[in-house]
Amino acid sequence: MKLLGVEDLNAGYGKLQILYGITFSLENKEILAIVGPNGSGKSTLLKSIFGLTTVYSGKVIFKGEEITNKPPHEKARIGLAYLPQIGNTFEKLTVIENLKMACYTLEEHEVKERIEEVLAIFPHIKPYLKRRVWSLSGGERQMVAMAMALTRRPEIIMMDEPSAALAPKIASQIFEKIVEIRDSLGKGVVLVEQNAKKALEVCDKALLLVAGQQAFLGSPEELLADPELAQTYLGVK
């Protein structure tokens, strides 16, 4: 069964329409990379799926159930996780406090188990549990944010530019973790990326957005093989 389906989605902010007729689907154990030039609506697409914009028409379907107009916290409860690009952690709180807050709605006995579960995936942040998040490096912060999202055992994790402003080596580490989330946890991942080259290396499916329209949907190899699309919009040779 399809994990996530988006059908003919038209969305924007108030009267300003950004997205025109977006259609794609996502299965378990799949990474979908949304790529495209600046201002093409990549982040808006993620926000629209999570219910943070105005959807004019079209559907968002999660495991066969339409969830287009469900409020964000409801979507979070049923198994969607959304990681915004900024403000995805509480910087003044310690790492462990952040993780505990991510488990806020869970029972006390579950919290410990879930935190141990995500720390097994992100051993990098284990030594820093008592440190405040603002004192961590960008990559470590991103890992805290990803760990927070995973404590709720979501089925889909949607990330907005997880590698933004990271050194190439650290960005590679983050991409490794994203692959791990797909392969060993079997989750579906929707990834918005500026770093198109890197995103296309790890993804199973690519969606190219140009000015709010879907310019390409298919395998990353196909996209890279199309010299016009790849070079014009992504600068990948």
Binding site: K92, L93, M101
Partner: protein
């Protein structure tokens, strides 16, 4: 250098300003509204105590729960009925601030009416009320009991708030909601409930300051309003984002005012003591000029490095 009386005066005043500054900082952090009605919550607490004492002869310290609860509920109601609905409708900080000035005017004038009622009940001419107590002897020193009670209360409140904010789930959720309400609500934290608790605690602590107030200065309906500027100074000194900064700010402001004027009124400066109210404001201006983000933003490591180089 200072007589014991002056030091104790400064201590009691600092305790009161600290208790008020904690609340002002808490409510400022939630909606970013500088709450102009905060001083009058202090008066409300003071009048709760005075009313019970003057009419039913209840010991002021036994009236402590009411001194906490009445302003706490009043503060909670203003949040639920005024600031929250306005904020939900997208009111700017300026609108919220003006609303708080309106609440201030209403509350202060209600207290004026109440003071008249109390005067008629007491059949007295003066409206200013004061509480008196006998000094106790402690190790050969004569000490007013309020010096001890207000200090213990402030220490107790600071420890409880510290434990609440760092050790309890609700307290951590409060810090989380203050920092990033959007993320907090996505994680399932009831931000509105957390903010309501902040306003409740803030009002209650203002009331506690009000309990100690009539021991040191004649209480009338204007007293809290008169103190508000000093409380703002203390909060701003503390950086407006930190409860413990607010406490430290309270102690600095209190001591600057009482010890400062004591020093400056001596020879060779001989400054008139009527300049006393200006000192905390000068301290605040200096703070804004040199450490605009408050004393908690001072980088101790840099200072240590600088000292080592000297």
């Amino acid at each position: 250098m200072f007589s014991l009386d002056v030091i104790l005066d400064a201590l009691i005043f600092s305790n009161m300003i600290s208790l008020m500054a904690i609340g002002l900082t808490l409510t400022y952090q939630t909606l970013k509204v500088p709450n102009f009605a905060h001083g009058d919550l202090v008066t409300l607490g003071a009048y709760a105590v005075l009313f019970l004492y003057k009419t039913f002869n209840v010991n002021p310290y036994l009236a402590l729960p009411l001194a906490f609860l009445i302003p706490a509920f009043f503060s909670l109601l203003t949040y639920l009925l005024i600031y929250k609905p306005l904020s939900d409708r997208g009111a700017s900080i300026v609108v919220l601030m003006i609303a708080s000035i309106a609440v201030e005017i209403i509350l202060r004038n209600m207290l004026h009416i109440f003071a008249d009622v109390m005067r008629n009940l007491q059949k007295t001419y003066y409206r200013s009320l004061i509480l008196r107590e006998k000094n106790i002897l402690l190790g050969g020193f004569s000490i007013p009991p309020v010096a001890i009670s207000s200090t213990l209360t402030t220490i107790f409140v600071a420890s409880i708030i510290y434990l609440f904010l760092t050790k309890t789930k609700l307290g951590v959720a409060m810090r989380a909601s203050i920092e990033n309400p959007g993320l907090a609500s996505v994680l399932g934290i009831d931000v509105n409930k957390v903010y309501s608790i902040s306003w409740f605690i803030a009002g209650g602590l203002a009331g506690l300051a009000g309990l100690f107030l009539p021991y040191r200065m004649p209480a009338d309906p204007e007293i809290g309003w008169g103190l508000l500027l000093k409380v703002f100074s203390a909060s701003i000194l503390g950086g407006l984002d930190n409860i413990f900064g607010a406490i430290a700010g309270g102690y600095i402001i209190g001591n600057v005012e009482y010890l400062g004027i004591n020093l400056l009124s001596r020879p060779p400066i001989n400054l008139s003591t009527s300049y006393r109210p200006a000192l905390p404001l000068i301290a605040m201006i200096l703070a804004l000029l040199f450490v605009p983000k408050g004393i908690t933003s001072i980088n101790m490591r840099k200072i240590k490095k600088w000292l080592r180089r000297q």
